[in-house]
């Protein structure tokens, strides 16, 4: 039986006693199961990252991803060498740009039978297979960039060319002529150069120095083909 030395319920005793002070006097006569929870206040850094995104709300996830996409678009517009940007790759930007470019490069009316189907799929195939080929080439040359990172960079750097396509379509609404063509040529050349600069700012660093030209040359070809498609586009 337990010895209850002092009575805690007695309001008369005004002396404050430390908590659990009397429990040391207790002896237990029967087995009472004890259960409880222990929370460890310190966590390793990896665990912290996990739990912070494991239980976040859906809205947070969406906003986080949208911000990441927006940041990458900004980086393409103002290319600057940044290692941290490349670490979080995502393929949303390339998808959006590819779809936009392919939509703008269609010819023919929307409701006819031959409604630009082959050209639409053609743009898709060129962009995605071109990017995959360049990535394989750069990996075979010994670059230390990962597959999806490279796809991400190449896809995002199509942004200037998409802008060029938009401008060309607007220019083509005016009357055709040599001036029309010169304007379009100028715009396409400027945007092409911009794409090359933006992508080499990210990709060239991953290559050993004597192989930089070998790695950059397929990128040059890739953007050249896309610029050619843009320049020679004429709506029927």
């Amino acid at each position: 039986m337990a010895e209850a030395a002092e009575s805690p319920g007695d309001p008369g005793t005004a002396t404050p006693r430390p908590l659990f002070a009397g429990l040391s006097d207790i002896s237990i006569s029967q087995d009472i199961p004890v259960e409880g929870e222990i929370t460890i206040p310190m966590r390793s850094r990896i665990r912290e990252f996990d739990s912070s995104t494991l239980n976040e709300s859906v809205q947070n996830t969406i906003m986080r991803d949208l911000k990441a996409v927006g940041k990458k678009f900004m980086h393409v517009l103002y290319p600057r060498k940044s290692n941290t940007l490349l670490r979080d790759w995502d393929l949303w930007g390339p998808l959006i740009l590819c779809v936009t470019l392919a939509l703008m490069l269609q010819r023919g009316s929307v409701d006819s039978e031959k409604d630009g189907g082959p050209q639409f799929a053609e743009v898709f195939v060129i962009v995605w297979f071109g990017a995959v080929t360049i990535t394989l080439n750069s990996k075979l040359l010994g670059g230390n960039i990962s597959f999806f990172q490279s796809l991400c960079v190449l896809g995002y750097c199509i942004l200037p060319l998409t802008v060029a396509m938009l401008v060309c379509r607007l220019v083509l609404l005016t009357e055709p002529g040599p001036i029309n063509f010169m304007v379009r040529l100028f715009v396409v050349i400027v945007m092409f150069a911009w794409s090359i600069v933006a992508s080499t700012a990210f990709l060239a660093d991953s290559q050993p120095p004597n192989r930089k030209a070998l790695a950059v040359y397929p990128v040059f070809l890739f953007y050249f083909v896309i610029s050619w498609m843009i320049l020679t586009f004429t709506p029927q």
């Binding site: 319920g9 207790i26 230390n144 991953s206």
Partner: protein
């Protein structure tokens, strides 16, 4: 704190944190309190104060309750109540967590995340339906292509980032460290008393949706290949790769450390086959014994 509850003079009220644990409690001399016998003896109404305390709001975060004696310490002549009722009283007395009723309802529900379950299936099924029915919806190849592609992308994103972690607690992602090396990380949430495990209905919906849809797209691949509608091939290949990537990622999460996939599939198949054949044999042993510890 002690002054809030009238425990009676001879009793040392044990403190109980979070309502889940039991600290060793003193067994006071019963004979000294003839007017308030032990609660789990059959004289119900004469209960000591802490029970009545329940309606009057909560103390700072601790609950006090009198000693819960076993049946043999009831005064002679008074039969003891069965153990379960006493336990029910105990848990009622010490419900500390605010919103406990919602949590109980949450735990008991068969589908805890109805919106996530809906969206898990919605994008996949609508992508499939749009692909199949595109000839009826509109004659435009481009519109149909873009719609199906967008639906497939949204499906990939939502299954990877949202429904996997909500429905079954699995997650996979790619991380690139400072050296530029990429690591694929697969993780499964551990089931602890803090977190709830996935319900069976949700897990079933998740895995069936994950497995059946890529198979449907493989059928589409062959049908478009052999009927020579090659312009759809790019779309079908995109669909297969996106959905197969999710399936592969989650299978790897589920497998955890086991690297031998044939063993895992064999055990999974045998479990499901035997379970549907004789479900009663597969109830966890000792389940009745576990009921006592339900909170």
């Amino acid at each position: 704190m002690h002054a809030d509850v009238n425990c009676g003079q001879q009793w040392r009220c044990p403190q109980r944190a979070r309502g889940r644990g039991t600290l060793p409690s003193p067994a006071p001399a019963r004979a000294a309190e003839p007017t308030s016998p032990a609660r789990d003896c059959a004289l119900g109404p004469a209960r000591p104060a802490p029970t009545g305390d329940r309606s009057g709001g909560r103390t700072e975060g601790l609950r006090f309750r009198p000693h819960r004696a076993s049946s043999r310490s009831c005064p002679p002549g008074i039969p003891a109540l069965p153990q379960r009722e006493a336990l029910v009283d105990d848990t009622e007395d010490v419900s500390l967590d605010f919103g406990n009723e919602e949590e109980l309802a949450f735990r008991k529900a068969k589908i805890r995340h109805p919106v996530a379950t809906f969206f898990h299936l919605f994008f996949r099924v609508s992508a499939t339906i749009t692909y199949v029915g595109c000839d009826w919806f509109s004659r435009s190849f481009v519109g149909c292509f873009v719609t199906v592609l967008l639906l497939l992308s949204f499906d990939f994103w939502s299954v990877k980032n949202v429904t996997g972690r909500l429905l079954v607690g699995l997650r996979w992602w790619n991380q690139i460290d400072e050296d530029g090396k990429s690591h694929w990380i697969f993780e499964a949430r551990k089931v602890s008393p803090n977190t709830v495990a996935a319900t069976e209905a949700e897990a079933r919906v998740f895995w069936l949706g994950l497995i059946i849809c890529p198979m449907i797209w493989i059928v589409f691949f062959f049908s478009s290949l052999f009927s020579l509608k090659l312009k759809w091939l790019a779309l079908v290949i995109a669909g297969i790769s996106l959905q197969a990537a999710n399936l592969y990622g989650y299978v790897l999460c589920k497998m955890g450390g086991e690297s031998d996939i044939s063993k895992v599939t064999a055990s999974f198949l045998s479990q499901t086959v035997l379970q549907t054949a004789c479900p009663r044999d597969f109830q966890k042993p000792g389940l009745e014994g576990l009921e006592i510890h339900k909170y």
